[in-house]
């Protein structure tokens, strides 16, 4: 996603806009289509959606069982809204997510603005350290963090959760900021320097406002990643500090239930809202740059 997409030419367009003198052979008429690709792709996208849509439909079930349809109702949404354990778990999750998001976003901005000053090798290593949580299987990071906090004398609980979440949120908060910085180029900053901006003025009046779209996308992604995390949270949670996904897992272990369907649906709605927000943002941005 680095280089701007080249202008798409219609297959009939010749460079220079001259009408083609030679008629193309028929097999080249539909350049964009490769036989057998479309059905697989459409199947794949349907495959991604059918299971989560089924869950959503059953969230509106009136019956007491997760799977026996007894007509449409919002009953279970009401029941879930009154479940104190669930609400407590949600509050815990929100507290952790807010702290992790704010801290990881601030750290990411500082890092993105200074990493290029390191020599090539240094910046590569620094980036690798920060993005390691993307490729290390989460279970390894979870048990390792558990061992680590025991070693430094912490106990599982809120503080441990907040620190661990902040750490694995950094790559997500960082990526959009770096991408934004890259797309800005250097002209704005050079202009500000030429006009005599001090470092602080530059940061306050130029850099920060220009980075806002990247910062918002990054913060939103970090927030969702923190709110959704289960495996690491599972190993660091304590009684009184049970995040929502850990609570949800304990419900699921007891088998399918209408309550789980409802929580699942709400989490799906969250994903849709967040993805759409970031999508619309990037649309606006590409319009501005056009």
């Amino acid at each position: 996603m680095t280089a701007p997409a080249p202008a798409r030419t219609r297959p009939s367009d010749e460079p220079g806009g001259v009408a083609p003198a030679i008629r193309k052979p028929p097999r080249a008429l539909r350049l964009h289509d490769f036989p057998g690709i479309a059905p697989v792709a459409v199947f794949g996208i349907i495959f991604l959606y059918v299971p989560i849509l089924i869950t959503t439909v059953y969230a509106f079930n009136d019956g007491d069982s997760a799977l026996v349809w007894r007509g449409f109702s919002l009953r279970w949404f009401g029941e879930v809204a009154q479940n104190t354990n669930l609400l407590n778990a949600l509050i815990v999750s929100l507290q952790i997510a807010v702290v992790a998001t704010v801290v990881s976003t601030i750290l990411s901005i500082l890092f993105a603005l200074s990493v290029e000053q390191l020599r090539a090798k240094g910046s590569g290593i620094a980036t690798a350290i920060l993005t390691a949580p993307l490729v290390i299987p989460e279970i390894v990071l979870a048990v390792a963090t558990l061992g680590f906090i025991r070693m430094i004398g912490l106990q599982p609980g809120m503080l441990a959760l907040m620190l661990a979440h902040t750490s694995f949120c950094i790559p997500f908060a960082l990526m959009p900021v770096r991408a934004r910085l890259k797309s800005l180029g250097s002209s704005y900053f050079e202009a500000a320097t030429d006009l005599g901006a001090s470092s602080w003025q530059m940061f306050r009046r130029i850099t920060l406002p220009l980075l806002v779209p990247g910062i918002i996308s990054g913060a939103v992604l970090a927030f969702v990643i923190s709110l959704d995390d289960f495996i690491i949270s599972n190993f660091l949670s304590a009684s009184g500090a049970t995040p929502l996904p850990v609570f949800l897992f304990s419900l699921i272990r007891r088998g399918a239930s209408p309550a789980v369907n409802v929580i699942a649906t709400l989490l799906l709605v969250l994903a849709i809202v967040v993805t759409t927000i970031t999508f619309l943002q990037s649309q606006r941005r590409s319009k501005q740059h056009a």
Binding site: R8, H32, G36, L107, S108, E116, A144, F148, A264
Partner: protein, 318 residues
Amino acid sequence: MSTQLDDRTGVNLVPVSAAPRHTRAPGRFPWPWVAPALLVAALFTLGPLVVIVVFSFMSRPPQGGGVIYEFTLEPYVNFLFQTDFLGNTTFDPRYLSVFGDSLLQGAITTIVCLLLAFPIALWIATRPEKLQNVLVLLITIPFWTNLLVRTYAWMLILNDNGIVNSGLNLFGLPKLELLYTPMASQLGLIYTFLPFMVLPIYASLAGFDFRLAEAAYDLGARKSTVVRRIILPLATPGIVSGVLLVFMPAFGSYVQPVLLGGGKVLLIGNLIASQFGDSRNWPFGAALSVIILIVLMIALIAIALYSRKSGKKVEISL
């Protein structure tokens, strides 16, 4: 700051000295500002990894979890051998087969995801721009949906009274044991990680310049040749990145084997979890984690060698 001395004629009368080599780019911070983020990552990513490696060479306390700081190779020996109470050590393939099963489930997941994701990514990349954006959005929504939710959805489908079995019932067919099987766990892994393969491949194909394909057709290439000789090489960095992003989490998966495989599927991920949970054998759990990290290292080295050889930069990002 010679720029301020320029006159307005456009002719620069002041000899501009070459910029010193280490000036900061305007608007950037000095390098020490990388420290806060690195410190957090060092403490909560690198730190734990170092600790887990150390733990894997330590002894078990007489009871309970945790470790005693006495060096031993026992956890690694345990992986391959078992010692009975008479002190006879015999080769024990059980853990090795768990490792093999994990590799196999990871490999199957990766291959199936690749076979599905390449056509999806190629198809999306060849749609008109507006539609492309919507389709990418469609792929990212499942990507950002909670892992438990996506796994649970299959529990609803494969359940004894689930969608599939209800359907079979309608046709008077007998119920199938679908949930809590290795098959279910495998299906869950493929479903969960498919977007992780589609997105990087799409990223490497997005903005594909169709004049390349046109040129190939003009030179008499067939469609299959264009895919093989032009599109595939373009997609390779994305494929490599996708393979890593799918294989590693699938190989070390925990949620899908537990929820969909039930008690019947033991992969290295849930084996590690149990060592830190009920079994309370932290050093052995740590040794298993180190084995996963070694597999990750091998994968990363392979990718580094590939990018050096092909001269293509593989970025592991989403």
